[in-house]
Symmetry: C2
Subunit: 215 residues, 2 copies
DNA sequence: GTTCCAATTGGAT
DNA sequence: GATCCAATTGGAA
């Protein structure tokens, strides 16, 4: 049972996407998810863990030049969203009154994120599992999957291709610009593997445009 | 000198685009335009005119289902724009204190608009001169030229493909929807003659989207 | 001047 | 939920 743990292990992708920090305290509720792999992982307890070291600088495959948000403080009480989900699929939530501490799970401990390989000019790294799963017949979906593999979700949410404000919404502040080197690697990968309309090939930067907007 | 006329002759396209009505009174000023053809036409006075008949219903090639604006009453005094232009290119404006009456020039009198031919399913009519001049290598430009040939400029300015409001500007009222039959004819013509990306071919209606917006 | 471009949005699929 | 779609905008090309 999860409630017997005082540490929650977070795989690398989730770690990146959520912005959790090692030894942060969080409150979790466990849902009866239909995903068998997740259920088995919980039952087997075969995962190997590594102790995160907050002092040791972590070598990120995709250089994180982005300003990280200050860690949100509301993490202790986001019950509302979860209850809404539980009411929909008859989940049996398990409450744990003791806050759990965050651990970052090693990449080797998950089969979802294995070895990362460089794409394009080699600045961007993506898990081979992601790369092999991509359906190259859809260059838009391929682009989005690569973007999500290269950039944390919260970075995509606050970024755009150019970093320029929308001309239609001059009042809104401009988002950050996605690292052009990483974007270029994605563009190279997509153009090499997909049938991209001639117009978009000529203006290669526009390939990723439609994909960046969605958070 | 233009000032000796009391009637101004308007070719068919200009007639459609401006919304001028026969026997309307307007005030004009003549600019020293760099276009030689215009200057020669003024000097030769070889054009043949027809008397407009406001009572006889005109047979429009492209069915005008659009609500025509009430004729603007400011037509007598739009000096401001013209003076701004004259100050830029050393034009010699010729003022005429007598209002001129509008005549619609016959199609045969202009070499710009000759016989119109149906395109697509035959609802839309475009001048053969426009059709032959189109560069089919650019499907976007071809689409725009066809749109401009089929629809009056003021209709394009107040219309959109779907007639739906922009989701990004819910406050703004929706524009009119362009006649789907005429749009379909344009789409057919463009897809038949141009290299259109597969995605746009599958969703044929989106071909004209980017072209409709600009007035 | 025309054409192109990318950001943003909510509804539709 | 993810994806697609079209309307609107001002500056850039």
């Amino acid at each position: 049972m999860i409630s017997s743990y005082d540490v929650v292990n977070v795989d690398t992708r989730t770690f990146n996407e959520t912005g959790l920090q090692p030894r942060e305290s969080i409150m979790i509720r466990v849902m009866d998810i239909q995903n068998e792999k997740v259920k088995n992982a919980n039952n087997n307890n075969e995962s190997t863990f590594i102790e995160p070291n907050v002092d040791e600088p972590q070598i990120e495959p995709n250089n994180p030049n982005y300003e990280e948000n200050a860690i949100e403080e509301k993490r202790q009480s986001n019950r509302g969203e979860q209850e809404a989900n539980s009411s929909m699929n008859n989940a049996e939530p398990i409450s744990n009154s003791n806050p759990l501490h965050v651990r970052r799970m090693s990449a080797q401990s998950t089969n979802d994120i294995g070895d990362e390989v460089p794409i394009g000019d080699g600045h961007a790294m993506v898990p081979v599992t992601v790369l092999t799963a991509i359906d190259w017949k859809s260059y838009t979906k391929a682009t989005r999957l690569l973007l999500q593999a290269v950039f944390p979700r919260r970075v995509l949410a606050k970024s755009s291709l150019t970093g320029r404000p929308s001309p239609a919404f001059m009042g809104k502040p401009a988002k950050d610009m996605l690292d052009p080197l990483l974007v270029e690697d994605i563009i190279i990968t997509v153009t090499d593997n997909c049938e991209v309309p001639v117009k978009l090939v000529q203006k290669r930067s526009s390939i990723g445009t439609q994909m960046v907007t969605g958070s």
